[in-house]
């Protein structure tokens, strides 16, 4: 037994050594486990993620754009894109043949792409993106597991060309390329979400973990009224084609809050189609906003407003128009057709006398002229959320030349955009406030804040200007803008286009008209500009004013603006279509001040004719049904004016002190009981 015990003790001893070895082995394993799972855990976790997870983007749906009535102007719809894993294709030739047929792609090119991807060991290749619904359905019907689909979204513009320049378009992965789509791209695009796609070793997706959910882009509600926009585009198209214009722009704006109801350019484009040709690409430009032009006679509105505020000139003050011939240092200014002797200030605007405007401008003086041009918002951007807005050109006062004041008085040496003109005209229309044009009504369901309008001219000046501009429509160059059932005011402008390359004015025009209606409480300001017209019929009064007429008639009806004239005015109807040669006289004729030659750029084809307008307009007023006529308050003290108001039954809004100098409505005009009558008092 001793031997046995000895053997046993030896065995246990050896066993103990071996057991110790095994335990040490276990401890080594434990140490390794702690090293892997605790100390270097993050390293391995990162490696695991890297090889198993594909970071993918979940595209956020782009915000919808609707007009003020909720009609969709731009929306994103889900579409399929096709991709394959080139390494998993059963056969590249068969695959190329099949896909090229089903997706109408060129076979050779597709084969090359697939083959290249395969040879480069790439596991992913877009075959065709954003395929049509029909293509998608036919491909799905094949039920081939190597054809894979990814849902993307395609931007759709249901109304096609309507409001295309405002809404704009997108390219590529729904990135804004122009219009609101670009200007508010950040707001519209939202934030793409991120997800991790867990894949197995063959890169097949197993599970999707969403880290951050996609945030949809903000929907936008525009101030645009799709109905008015449609009318504007239709009429702009008609006018541009009828007058062989190269381009055209029109804008309809609410003068009180600056909301743009319609804004159009011609030629237009279909945002659903990517532009291919040069013409199509050029059509994407928002000319009314990004391409400034010399406004011409339209600008006399600013000259006269400045004069009313800063000089003693009144509408009936007389201006010497030098019989149509005014020498200035380095150049001679002519009227377009016939010279005028003495004109009242009102007549200067009605007949669009260049020399008259220069004389008035001279009384204002350069400093105050410069200030008023700025007050009306020229030389600075309107701040619309659209790309490439031009501030126009307004030279600094210290860079004005000897004749700059004269030029600017009649709308030369300055360039403006249509939007700037609409804003300036709104100042007169809304009683003296510079408003901030507005294009976005609601952003993400939240009303966009209004920028408080800034008073830039006195109310009385604005009211006087309204009536002076009504005179343009009634008696002057803008007769074609006379509306049925509504009073209207406006100003024509025909600026010769300056050929920058050859440094002279060409015989093609920028024919424009800006106006408002109704005169006493304007609901709309409309600016129409046609670029590249020529001849008599291509002038502001004959080309653009009729477009104003058509647009205003439809827009006022659509907006349910109460009529302020009886509908049936046969004489006016008869006159409307007729274009008098008086229109022509708004042409701002000038010669470049290079001192070498002073050629009179006169339109020879225009034949001076008797103007039946004067008597015609009187007839209109004579034929008006005799409602209560507005009493003449001018010259009365405030107390006396208030007495009259209480007797007659209208309310009086007075400004200033002294005796009544101006009133609106004018004396003798019809008025409605309870109507607001504004008067300006002065000493």
């Amino acid at each position: 037994m001793e031997h046995l015990d000895d053997a046993r003790r030896k065995a246990v001893q050896r066993l103990a050594w071996l057991a110790l070895g095994v335990v040490l082995w276990g401890v080594a394993i434990l140490a390794k486990l702690v090293s892997l799972q605790v100390i270097h855990h993050n390293v391995y976790l990162a490696r695991e993620r890297r090889q198993q997870e594909q970071q993918i983007e979940i595209p956020a749906p782009r915000g919808t754009i609707v007009d003020r009535n909720g009609e969709k102007l731009a929306m994103s719809i889900p579409v399929d894109s096709v991709f394959v894993d080139p390494l998993r294709l059963p056969d590249v030739r068969t695959a190329s043949e099949l896909l090229s047929q089903f997706l109408s792609l060129p076979y050779d090119e597709l084969y090359k792409r697939l083959d290249t991807a395969r040879s480069q060991n790439r596991g992913f290749l877009w075959v065709k993106r954003k395929i049509t619904r029909a293509e998608s359905e036919r491909l799905h019907a094949l039920r081939l597991d190597w054809i894979q689909f990814q849902q993307e979204s395609r931007r759709l513009y249901p109304d096609g060309t309507v409001a295309s320049h405002v809404v704009g378009s997108v390219f590529g992965d729904e990135q804004g390329s122009d219009g609101i789509e670009k200007g508010l791209d950040k707001e519209l695009e939202g934030h793409a979400g991120t997800a991790r796609l867990l894949t197995d070793v063959k890169r097949r997706g197993i599970d999707l973990v969403v880290d951050t959910a996609p945030q949809a882009g903000k929907p936008l509600k525009l101030t645009i009224d799709g109905r008015i926009q449609f009318v504007v585009e239709r009429e702009l198209n008609t006018a541009a084609e009828a007058h062989h214009a190269r381009t055209g722009a029109a804008i309809v704006i609410n003068p009180y809050n600056g909301e743009i109801l319609a804004m159009a350019n011609w030629p237009s484009f279909d945002p659903n189609q990517a532009p291919v040709t040069r013409e199509q690409k050029l059509a994407h430009r928002d000319l009314g906003l990004s391409v400034p032009f010399e406004p011409g006679s339209i600008f006399k509105m600013v000259t006269l407003s400045a004069a009313l505020e800063t000089t003693t000139l009144r509408p009936d003050s007389l201006i010497n128009c030098h019989n149509g011939f005014l020498p200035l240092p380095g150049r001679v200014v002519h009227e377009a057709h016939r010279g005028f002797g003495m004109l009242t200030v009102a007549e200067v605007l009605e007949k669009s006398s260049n020399i008259g405007a220069i004389e008035i401008g001279a009384q204002v003086g350069p400093e105050r002229m410069y200030e008023y041009v700025q007050r009306f918002g020229f030389g600075s951007r309107t701040g619309l959320p659209l790309p490439a807005e031009s501030p126009g050109l307004l030279r600094k006062l210290n860079r004005w030349g000897t004749t700059s004041l004269a030029s600017i008085s009649m709308g030369q040496e300055i360039s403006t955009t249509s939007v700037q003109l609409a804003r300036a005209c709104s100042v007169v229309a809304n009683g003296g406030f510079l408003v901030q044009p507005k294009l976005v009504l609601e952003e993400g369901g939240v009303k966009t804040p209004d920028v408080a309008p800034r008073r830039v001219i006195q109310a009385s000046t604005a009211i006087t200007m309204r009536h002076l501009m009504e005179g343009v429509v009634l008696r002057g160059t803008g007769k074609a803008a006379h509306l049925s059932g509504y009073t209207s005011g406006g100003k024509t402008g025909t600026a010769q286009i300056f050929d920058v390359a050859n440094h002279h004015y060409t015989k093609t025009y920028n024919a424009s008209f800006m106006g408002f209606a109704p005169v006493n409480n304007p609901a709309l300001v409309i600016v129409v500009t046609l670029n590249g017209t020529s001849g008599n019929s291509g002038m502001g009064g004959s080309a653009s004013a009729p477009a104003f007429h058509a647009i205003a008639t439809e827009a006022l009806r659509l907006l349910d603006v109460p009529k302020d004239l009886p509908d049936d005015v046969p004489l006016l109807q008869a006159k409307k279509a007729k274009v008098s040669n008086d229109d022509v006289s708004d042409l701002a004729i000038t010669e470049v001040a290079d001192g070498s030659s002073n050629i009179l750029e006169e339109d020879e084809s225009a034949k001076p004719a008797a103007d039946p307008a004067e008597s015609g307009v009187n007839l209109i007023h004579a034929s008006l049904p005799q409602g209560p006529a507005m009493p003449d308050l001018r010259g009365k003290t405030l107390r006396a004016a208030l007495e009259t108001a209480s007797i007659e039954g209208f309310t009086l809004a007075a400004e200033g002190s002294g005796v009544v100098r101006a009133q609106s409505p004018a004396p003798g005009e019809p008025w409605r009981p309870g109507q607001n009558v504004s008067v300006r008092l002065g000493r």
């Binding site: 053997a7 065995a11 080594a28 892997l36 391995y44 490696r47 090889q51 198993q52 197995d200």
Partner: protein, 381 residues
Amino acid sequence: MAQKLKTDHILFATVVMMVFFGLVMVYSASSVMADLKMGHSYYFVARQLFWVVIAVGVMMTLKMTHYRKLQHPAVAFPAMSIVLMMLIAVYVLDAKQHRWIRFGFIGIQPSELAKPALALFLAYFIALRARAINNRYTLLPALLAVGLVTVSVVVADLGTAVVLMLSAATVFFVAGLDWRYVMIAIGIGLVGCVAAVAAKPYRLTRIIGYIDPEYKIVYRVDSKLHTHVSEYLKRSLTTKDTSYQSEQSKIAVGAGGPMGQGLSMGKQKLLYLPEAHTDFIYAVVGEELGLFGTVGVLLAFGVILWRGIRATVLIPDEFGRYLALGVTTMLVVQGLMNISVVLGMMPTKGIPLPMISFGGSSLLSTLASLGILMNVSEHAG
């Protein structure tokens, strides 16, 4: 003999828990792959369950069979002979891998069955010749038997051969083998290693890849001696990506972290990790259950080691002692080797993790061995 024996509850509970845990892990590790390859996710776990029923039956039978009934030439010799015959037959029947003998849908790996058979035979033989353990008439037949089994296993299944040799060596060492013979055994072992490496060159790449993963030493040797070892290694690497499995299993275990990613939440088994439900199931345990799971499994093998050594020391007879020692060594060595391979501490070997990995033969052989160990443990008091 007739008295009611007290079951080794610790060992029994551990084994039952491990087998159940194994079923869960096999399902977790294989379901996705089974779904992809076989069409339904329960394919592997259902087969495993079938084997669990059989293997637990065998285990319970052996647990209730007195171990001394096994101490009989009519048990030891036929067991050894049948296994040897099967090992030779498998060369013909499984021409490719030399691993499987198939009966219908049931496949049997003779190399797995060799483990309990060899343990039984050695225990019987050493108990018979205990007094003359260092006698050449003891050693030569024993060496012949161990050599025959090992050689017939080694070509197809190097890992199992290593387990068999280590276990046999342990039993002889504890039985009182002279240091002289111990040295000879170590010598034979080294020669065997060199032979194994020489037989399949990729094994050299594996070993060098383990010692010198970035080939710093290899490059230095190349530049000094103007040899082209690195190129040779790289060429063999591109044909057989040896470090891939080991890298993927380390990533799985490391990514699991202290708490794990949650049962069935592991991602590495999604075909990144080859053999996730068999040889590398420990990596899935590590990824899904974290340090708790990995240390838990390690402790389970610690319990088996403890109960095995306890039985070895306390059992009065020599047969029982070497039987307990043999099966314990085989189970624990195989377990630790598997874990070491998974953790990248040893070159890759194709051996399953006892009780947990998918595989019927392994489960059968493991639970049979544990049934025997339980009975010995009961008799050890």
